[in-house]
């Protein structure tokens, strides 16, 4: 039994607590890509695919959530393969360019396809996710990524982030690591989407476009990518700030955008020590 105050607290702030966990997962999905020196702006789109796929699987096929959650990561993984395979061979800007429009394209698809609910979105999704599934997944992801970062894989990722040519010469299969990172990121974002759909009961076509994509980047950049815990901390700060300061909510997006500008321009060694090292030599 939970103590009464904790019960009250969770009931009052349930949505915020859920959002913290889900945004933490999204920050991790961005971290994985940044950790190999790439930039994907498809995180929100991957999340949306996971959300839509999971909602349809639950509502139309009545599958249990334990099946829905992993299945919902399949569409984002397929899209990541289709976009990542050609672009990751090219320079870093190509993945960013190819993914930046993905959210807006899918928005148009969600709006125009009747089976996906059109402008009304999908409502009446049962509340299948909760504290256990969200935070269980977040902790599992953190643990795995922490172990990976400390392993040889993590060293290879850091090497290619610092200097991809040198890393390739040392025998790191840069291409494979990049694609692996992008797929892992699609899985995390897709799962986050499935979880969010199953705690909010409603999903709409406008929730996964350009603004959330940039917001997810601001989570990861604010925290930095020195360890997997840092982007989660960034996500929590940027999720709690608008809750704490009511008047702030209107300017939330302006602030998220400025965070990115300020961090990249002025904090090269502060919040982003690993990524920025080679810029200032």
């Amino acid at each position: 039994m939970m103590p009464v105050w904790l019960d009250d607290f969770l009931w009052t702030y349930q949505n915020v607590v859920y959002a913290l966990g889900i945004n933490g997962l999204l920050a991790l999905s961005m971290y994985v890509v940044l950790a190999v020196g790439q930039l994907s702006l498809g995180q929100a789109a991957f999340m949306g695919m996971g959300a839509y796929a999971s909602a349809l699987l639950t509502l139309k096929l009545h599958l249990p959530f334990a099946v829905v959650l992993p299945a919902a990561t399949i569409p984002p993984v397929l899209f990541a393969l289709a976009i990542g395979t050609p672009t990751l061979r090219l320079s870093g800007v190509y993945l960013a360019i190819a993914t930046i429009g993905l959210g807006e394209v899918l928005r148009a698809v969600y709006l125009n396809v009747d089976a996906l609910g059109g402008a009304l979105g999908i409502s009446g999704i049962p509340e299948r996710a909760g504290m256990v599934s969200i935070y269980g997944l977040l902790i599992a992801a953190l643990a795995i990524l922490w172990l990976v970062a400390r392993s040889g894989i993590g060293r290879a990722m850091e090497a290619m982030r610092e200097d991809e040519i040198a890393a390739a010469v040392m025998g790191v299969n840069v291409q494979r690591y990049r694609l692996g990172a992008l797929l892992a990121s699609a899985v995390l974002a897709g799962a986050a989407g499935a979880l969010s759909a199953h705690v909010s009961s409603f999903i709409g076509p406008n929730e996964y476009g350009f603004e959330p994509a940039v917001t997810i980047l601001s989570y990861a950049l604010l925290g930095g990518i020195s360890s997997p815990f840092a982007p989660v901390a960034g996500a929590w700060i940027l999720t709690l700030l608008p809750e704490a300061l009511r008047g702030f909510a209107d300017l939330r997006l302006v602030f998220n955008g400025l965070i990115i500008v300020v961090v990249v321009l002025f904090l090269p060694n502060g919040l982003l020590p690993l990524r920025m090292r080679r810029w200032v030599k």
């Binding site: 928005r107 997006l253 955008g257």
Partner: protein
Amino acid sequence: MLAQQLINGVLLGSTYALFALGFTLMFGVLKVVNLTYGFYFSAGAFFALHMTKQWGWPIWAALPAAALASGVVAVVLDWLLLTRLRRINAPELASLMVTLGAVLALYAGMTTWLGPDIRRLPAGVLGGEALVLGDLRITEAQILILLATVILVGGLLALMRLTPIGLALRAMAEKPDAAGLMGIDTAKLAALVSLVCGGLAGAGGVLIGLNFNAIQPYMGEAMMLRGFVVIIIGGLGDVKGALIAGLLLGVVETLTAGYIDSGLKEAVAFVMLVAVLWTRPAGLFGRAHIQRA
């Protein structure tokens, strides 16, 4: 019907080409994927809206004035965001991220300030009459689009090919450091490129605003997707490629909307993007640029 669709497509495509031209020029000379570019497009449309609505200017005066004003915005933003990164020779992803953050802040700020509603240019800014040739209808907006595109693109090509400034720009695109050593003031040229590119984007915003008669803060964002598709299909930094790819995208989009489903318009651009990345990543007319250690 088909001829009409083709004309609409070419005219839509010429605005895409105009828009993408500045974008690809910015990349070619400044080596920056500048995502604030879409904002200049929105800014141009809003400047023209203000000039025609509040000040009662005719469109032929508002179009160049709005383009110039967007160009000035571009120079200021480029200076604020990118001078520092240029100085430390930051990798291209850094400038991409900075401009991405900035453009979100700009769009969101603009939406908070002006509201998200769709605005329209005042009635009578363009005559409603259309040129009718047999079955074909060409509206006055479309004629203006064609004229403006031809003048701007022609002017730009002349600037690049025939003037000393163009020579300096091409030198800078080839090798910025060497150009600097040869006495070219690269900082001043960078400002000029921003002015020209911002102006092209702003003009594109006014023209698209006229064509669809719908202006709202995020309109530049939808356009950016087209811009990306055009410059990837045409080849990053390739001016001629951007022109052809822009027309191509406009025609394919219009035909899709006309014969299949208008909802698929956005998807067309994206499918073309992915298809080109798979088959010809250097662009339809580009040659692979191989990076060697």
